[in-house]
Amino acid sequence: MAKQRCAVIGVGQTKYQSTRGDVSMAGLVREAALRALADAGLEWSDIDAVVIGKAPDFFEGVMTPEIILAEALGAAGKPVLRVHTAGSVGGSTAIVASSLIESGVHRRVLALGFEKQSESNAMWALSLPQAFQTSINAGAGGYFSPIIRRYMAMSGAPELVGCVVAFKDRQHALKNPYAHLHQPELTFEEVVESPMLWDPIRYSETCPSSDGACAIVLADERAAADALNPVAWVDATAMRSEANNFGGRNMVNPAASSLCAQDLYAKAGITNPREEIDVAEIYVPFSWYEPMWLESLGFAERGQGWRLVEDGVTRLGGDLPVNPSGGVLSSNPIGASGMVRFAEAALQVRGMAGEHQVVGARRALGHAYGGGAQYFAMWIVSAGD
């Protein structure tokens, strides 16, 4: 059987916030899944299989929580897969689901990512005690700060570029009803003056810790023809992983990232991403990763990504809006964060992004990464013909 075409026919998200105290884990995933089904115009019985992604099970203290979520996701009697590829998991989960369609195995698949971080707390779950040594790295910020420092030294970027990104994404979030951080009063000066946590990373340049879930319904060509709303075609997907540490590793622009992007563009027939991609949802948990990934993804030359930020190219209304949803900097339910990028890319080309819609978006990039910038998942989605 030849490779089947795959489309996004439904997207559902929960409101992201620090504590969703009104719902159980089941209630949380249910909310995103129901909204995705409604968008797709489908019933539970229409779904052939469910693919669930989330980051470490320690966040909720439940081993393999998909086991207890079967009822909530209408999964009784159906195939269920559980993906975990660190921070990139939301993207990987969407890709695994799309491969179930592309292979012809299933016709309609529900992909869902979630995290209920408020059950514990992120600092605990990301800095668990280890044997043989005490930890000296404080969470993800402690890990990524030295890499950002290298990028700053290498590129000579002005010191406040990270603040520009953070302010932009918080402004974008105001146009997204699902976003966690809604800070209408926030000024650029407040971003700059916010305390350094992991120097050179300020508090305002980091992502929040959120509860939330995101769901995507994927379908084959025949099922997509019956979709309730416009669909987004999955033109290409790509994944790459590399080791955490080895001599000659490019920490700023990991080979796994740049090769993943090259593979993705080749599959999608894209030769000039800057010209051919209208909007990008990129996984940016710390502000400086926007210019870094812009370079890695081929939108800018080495050491030049910060210029796109400074020139306002990545703002809504700019030539290449990046994270019009507000991005990971405005909402971060870790296990869902990657899927939110993929889902938001699909909403853009479906013309369904609401207030943060990029006018005329035809082709969009969804991107996620995880581990020590080791795991990459990306897709290109486009509007129908």
Partner: protein, 149 residues
């Protein structure tokens, strides 16, 4: 390598998880705090205990919370002769599936008797409530034979 014996290090992963329950699981726990056991009614009228938020077969939401008795029948049991840390008792007891009067399906809890000889499928049991209750499954200390003092 000079010394080839195993080297081990200890790790304790510990966290005081506090979970948000949502309304359905919350109702069950509220009931326990109040000294009553509740379940939820399915479309066919049968009652699930503990209540499930979504119908296991149709995935439709379930909404009607109903009270059941705190007495019922043991439908299966397994003797726990060597209880582990954090389990309900330090001395031997039985794990049991108990279908409460008014419920269609069993729930899991501990039954306290002296020996496996005192356990039998089909035996009647009743909940032994704690005096201090907070809305937790262990508000029921255990189940005991219905005729026990």
């Amino acid at each position: 390598m000079a010394d080839d014996t195993v080297l081990r290090g200890h790790v304790t992963l510990e966290y005081p998880f506090t979970r948000s329950t949502g309304p359905v699981v919350g109702a069950f726990l509220t009931g326990l705090r109040e000294g009553v056991i509740v379940g939820i009614r399915r479309a066919d009228g049968s009652v699930l205990v503990p209540p499930c938020e979504y119908d296991p077969e149709t995935a439709e939401p379930l909404t009607e919370i109903v009270e059941v008795a705190d007495t019922g029948v043991v439908t299966s049991w397994c003797w726990n002769g060597a209880p582990r840390e954090r389990q309900p008792f330090t001395s031997p007891y039985a794990w049991a599936l108990i279908t409460l009067d008014g419920a269609a399906t069993p729930m899991l809890h501990a039954v306290r008797v002296d020996s496996p000889a005192a356990m039998q499928t089909g035996m009647r049991v009743r909940a032994k409530w704690r005096a201090e209750r907070e809305g937790h499954i262990s508000d029921i200390e255990c189940f005991v034979p219905e005729d026990a003092s």
